[in-house]
Amino acid sequence: MTPTSNLVVTALGLLNYWVYIFLLCVGLYAVLVKGNYVKRMIGLGIFQSAVFLLYISMDKVDGGTGPIFQGEPVAGQIFSNPLPQVLILTAIVVGIAVTALGLALAIRIKEEYGSIEEADTQRMDREA
């Protein structure tokens, strides 16, 4: 194998990790920098999905298929790893429930302060 093709194989094999790192940074940026509470929930969702991607990328096995038996077991059949899938399957649903709770809090903040910007709510807290 030539060095160049070796490099391409490595790059493609690590691409999922790099996308995961990128999404993690984008999500973190939104949570840390953005002052809008709904925008922060969006950032948190992206951050969460980045972790989902990391776990699901782990389960892949070359030449494998989804971990479901079809009819009689076939000799030499390779399945992808079911464990990360179980973790993430439940985490997705818990994630939406937590997002909904965050949005409910944002709605209440809007009703009390008339704004969902952190700068506004903090200013009102100082003045109060």
Binding site: V9, L12, G13, L14, L15, N16, Y17, W18, V19, F22, L23, L24, C25, V26, L28, Y29, A30, L32, K34, N36, V38, K39, I42, G45, I46, S49, F52, L53, I56, D59, K60, V61, G64, T65, G66, I68, F69, P73, S80, N81, P82, L83, Q85, I88, T90, A91, V93, G95, I96, A97, T99, A100, L103, A104, A106, I107, K110, E111, E117, D120
Partner: protein, 328 residues
């Protein structure tokens, strides 16, 4: 790494950036929905069909509806332009660089010699046919081997539902106490779009039927209580959007949803307790009936039903609470 995988990953990255940078929150939410849909496609390419169904139903469907509902009650635009601050950017860059350096130590995608494939995963793959005997290994682990964890997750979902109800109140406030009109009344606007209403209504029974297939056929094909619950709730949300959320709240009142959510969690732990009193461990379905495999089958059927019930009820409850709230 296929071309399709490359394409979906690129789309995931682009839509994430657009979701964060767009100053219009409505646009942001729609980009987040597209992000989730592409992520679901990517999960499918990575051989995780169960996760893909759940992400598509929850991320692209339910989550987008909840975000749009919340936006209608808060604000459509980001008003304050944030000042540039060094600390968050430094924290983010350090995290990114550290993870990037570490990534070169990681096994390549699809490498079967990776440590994660050496530990307990082969045991689950080889022993599931003998101990549980259902074709979908993900469902077998989720519902039986790791039944404790799943019970915990169901309780978390239930608690989050209770949390939303405690924050937003059990019944929508009457119009006299708050200005404006309720979201449900404004969403009535869809009723004037004949094409949307007719096509949307056609989708509702199909969605519900698909949810039932995913629920009860989840032992043989991708699916299970979590994805089925999200799909069923999505069907009810579609009804609420087309006909007005006040009607969906009338058809499925909050109190009934709350009780159904509690019932689902009770069914789950009840099955565990029955197993306990029949002489097995908590949530060991093998002792439910004389034949251990039949016991596993029955136990998984019942607890998946409990999971589906709780997830459906909690998501509908959250939708009703947000969509029927008077706007500020």
């Amino acid at each position: 790494m296929t071309f399709l995988g490359f394409f979906t990953l690129a789309f995931v990255a682009i839509s994430a950036v657009l979701a964060v940078t767009s100053r219009n929150l409505f646009e942001s939410s729609v980009w987040l929905g597209i992000f989730s849909l592409m992520m679901a496609a990517n999960f499918f390419i990575l051989d995780a069909p169960d996760v893909a169904i759940t992400e598509a139903a929850v991320g692209a469907g339910v989550s987008t509806v909840l975000f749009l509902g919340a936006l209608a009650l808060t604000a459509e635009h980001e008003h304050v332009k944030e000042k540039f601050r060094w600390l968050p950017v430094v924290v983010m860059s350090v995290l990114g660089v550290v993870l990037l350096v570490v990534s070169f130590e990681q096994p390549l995608l699809g490498d079967y010699t990776a440590p994660v494939h050496q530990h307990v995963a082969p045991w689950y793959l080889s022993e599931t046919p003998r101990l549980i005997d259902i074709p979908n290994i993900v469902t077998a682990i989720l519902a039986s081997f790791r039944g404790y964890d799943t019970l915990g997750e169901v309780i978390v979902v239930f608690t989050a539902g209770i949390g939303v109800i405690s924050v937003l109140g059990f019944r929508p406030k009457s119009k006299s106490t708050l200005r404006g009109s309720s979201l449900a009344q404004r969403v009535r606007g869809v009723q004037h779009h004949a094409v949307l209403r007719v096509v949307g209504k056609l989708l509702i029974p199909v969605l519900m039927l698909f949810a039932l297939v995913v629920q009860f056929h989840g032992k043989y094909t991708p699916g299970g209580g979590f994805s089925a619950g999200a799909l069923f709730a999505a069907a009810v949300m579609l009804y609420g959007i087309l006909e007005g959320a006040d009607k969906s709240a009338k058809a499925l009142p909050q109190l009934v949803m709350l009780r159904l959510a509690a019932l689902g969690a009770t069914i789950y732990s009840g099955v565990g307790l029955v197993a306990f009193f029949k002489g097995g461990n908590f949530l060991n379905y093998s002792v439910l009936v004389t034949d251990p495999l039949a016991g596993q089958y029955l136990g998984i059927l019942l607890i998946e039903f409990g999971v589906g019930l709780t997830v459906t009820a909690v998501l509908i409850m959250i939708f009703n609470a947000i969509a029927n709230r008077d706007s500020y």
